[in-house]
Symmetry: C3
Subunit: 343 residues, 3 copies
């Protein structure tokens, strides 16, 4: 009896399946500190208990992207071990902040399957939820991946493609209980720019770059208990390079965006995301953002801002797509998210 996990193949997914992902995780100050060692993260709400308390929270939460990685990592053995490509994200919402001592686990429901015309692969859509020790959902998102068939002769399932919102409606964003930016300290947050200072269409070059190393991306990816071989084993890809986990690029870009968006504190919605090109050790990651939309919220002093966050290899402000509509080769990431800012 083979004891090791071969992962699921395309024909192993059926719409309605519920996947209980393994290895729950209790987070501590260790995860918080490592996040700050691995990324140049400086958003004050995630750095200081005192700052967070002045904003109405009980303590400084774990970075929203770290919470995302913890939840995402658990899904890899069940969802993407045999994935050819991570195709997209959508309908993501952070519903509760994650604090030190919380224990997270992940559950996914298969919400769509569609075999590709080549008959060798198919697209699987899952809605993943991260739950805490009180069985409260702390975040949820949809992700779709292209997965190999294990048996090429397996019959094609009925195609079911879920209808996904292009953007999370701002009225559906979850504002943490008690959040109040009325007494927000702009000196300690690092920049004076308020929600009202940003205009739709405005683009921001975040200026700073970080050259990435093998040891760093492997430590990050292991910390989230993501087991995909391509990130760790030089023998896993034909060219002998270790592919950097896309989430490492997300966190690096989000942290770099502090310079110009220091007050875009909490990430509460994920509208879309694409890993446009592979990132490898030795690449220098830069980032730029564009304000896509703004919305009011019911919380005191809190506005929502919809941002496009683009990571590039080398300093290529505002690079995105070529004339052919395809991502330029320098573009690593194109992420569309909602954040909360003081108004």
């Amino acid at each position: 009896m083979v004891k090791t996990n071969k992962g699921r193949f395309f024909e192993d997914y059926t719409v309605g399946d519920v996947l209980t992902h393994a290895v729950p995780r209790t987070v501590s100050g260790g995860e918080r500190a490592l996040y700050h060692a691995l990324y140049p993260a400086r958003h004050a709400l995630y750095s200081s208990d005192v700052f967070a308390q002045r904003c109405g929270l009980p303590a400084s939460p774990l970075d929203d992207m770290a919470a995302f990685h913890v939840v995402f990592g658990k899904t890899v053995p069940d969802v993407s071990l045999n994935a050819v490509a991570n195709l997209g994200y959508g309908e993501g919402r952070w519903l509760l902040p994650v604090y030190v001592d919380d224990t997270l686990r992940s559950v996914s429901e298969v919400i769509g399957v569609k075999q590709n015309s080549n008959g060798k692969t198919g697209v699987v859509y899952v809605r993943t939820r991260g739950l805490n020790q009180r069985d409260e959902t702390v975040l949820e998102y949809v992700r779709w991946v292209m997965v190999r068939k294990g048996n090429p002769d397996a019959p094609a399932p009925e195609s079911i493609v879920p209808s996904l919102a292009a953007v999370v409606d701002p009225s559906a964003l979850a504002i943490p209980a008690g959040l109040d930016f009325s007494a927000y300290d702009f000196d300690l947050s690092g920049e004076p720019h308020r929600w009202g200072d940003y205009e739709i269409g405005e683009q921001i070059d975040h200026v700073d770059g970080v050259t990435v190393e093998e040891a760093e991306h492997m430590m990050a990816t292991r910390l989230w208990q993501n087991t995909a071989k391509v990130h760790f084993d030089v023998n896993a890809r034909p060219d002998g390079s270790r592919l950097i986990y896309g989430g490492h690029v997300i966190s690096m870009a989000r942290a770099l965006s502090f310079n110009g968006l220091a007050n875009a504190q909490m990430v509460v919605g994920l509208n879309a995301g694409a890993h446009a090109n592979p990132c490898l050790s030795g690449d220098t990651i830069y980032a730029w953002s564009e304000v896509l939309d703004k919305a009011e919220t019911s919380a005191p002093g809190v506005g929502a801002i919809r941002l496009r966050l683009v990571a590039t290899k080398g300093h290529k402000p505002f690079a995105l797509r070529g004339e052919d509509g395809k991502y330029q080769t320098e573009v690593l990431l194109d992420l569309d998210y909602w954040a909360l800012m003081p108004t």
Copy 2:
């Protein structure tokens, strides 16, 4: 007066000597998180407080191997600073789980000395105990090392070679108070395989590999406050390479063994261990296991399994010894241990 530590030489050890090792250490969530960043560790009992509590423990303990490294590291300045080789381990038992906020220190007793026929080196046997802040022994093991003589003319001591058990008797294994696997959650642990599903003689290829980096093994080795120069200084070895601490290979192999042995949760006995060949940065570590024995325990739903864990450089499942009885060159580690599994 020279203030720096030159380490002990062979003639400085006398059977019966008690060595009080320096630098006690309080462990926190930081050590736990770093362990998970440095190794692909996924055993649920060491990842989740909730999972551990469902198994009858007060919280998720520090990984048993991390506890071993903390205790071991303290012995290096007194035992192995002038060691030529680490020859073996035996009679190891984990007696109490280590939790966040515990403070560990180490004490060793010299239990054997035997000068080698070349007159330049000798073998020293020590029994080391790790103690917590309540002076309870949390683990103990015997280790023997080959140590240089400082003065080649020092007379050979009377040879005393301790009689060591080849295997820790399963009846002597310490089961943590309260441990109960009756309500064990196989979905959250990651695999369905129970103690009853493993057969003596069964071999498991753990499939996954990890390429190791200088920064990682140095961070790990420093974290355990192991000061052996060969791990840190390119000038310490003739070929300019930094030798990777054998414990780094142990932890990497143990973590990789999750894939196929996800339910071999707690390490409670160390029967034997050999670092067969040196490991260097850039090597890719794989692992395989063999079931050597099984035993029942008195705790509800808890069985003991004796495992051989072999780490190899490159994917060489079931490689061990050549026809000459020597370890094959790809073999890095041959470890023989007891773990606890749900029955």
Copy 3:
């Protein structure tokens, strides 16, 4: 409206300005563990709660140099983003130990400005204080940096050069409340040498060396939220190398000095410091110390020792200045500090 921080230029500083630095930081066991993973730190008071309690403290504090880095890192965006060189430190005092769960922030006052004769740069002197969540000053120091002018035509300000003490008077050193070395455990601290065993003028070669890696210094520097581009981005310096943060060298040298100064436990004064030559990845850092002075204190069993700590590239014990009075090329750091030792 440009949203990103361009940093201040020489003409932007006026004596008397108070700079409230951004991004307060709550420290946890994660920062402590990372400090021990990044440096071979073994001073027992900073490793063990039990040891610290036996010395009269409530718990083991964060390493004094880690506290320094946290406070220092916050000043970079306001003080040294456009710095040409970090020229010196002085009048540094650690006033209160920093414990897990403390939240630190930094405030600086401009205490001197002096334009250089080339008209393109000037020297800025700031006195920085680190404050905890109770608004108590935990440490303070003066630092002076050479900063570029943004507008070469900006008029030279009136030169004001603060009068700084060459050495912190030992009577001004802050001894932590309750500190008592009467029951100090020399077995657990790692060395038997007391304050009385050191002579003024004595030099100590700390013997051990550590080869440094890119991933390590970047993780350290990010952990302290130091944003200077030269440490992270291969494009920031003409030669494509990443300059290692001077504080990384300080911590490495201080940790290496354990071997010979294991009982120089608490750093309480910073008299002077110079980063003599740049340090790059691949360099192997060694350290030596010289006893510059000794003083008694009012605390039971506690003496003060003034030490010169020199870090070198390669093992060059007692290398310092050449016949021309300039630092030898192998010298990375020359630090002059006060520490507390058991008498």
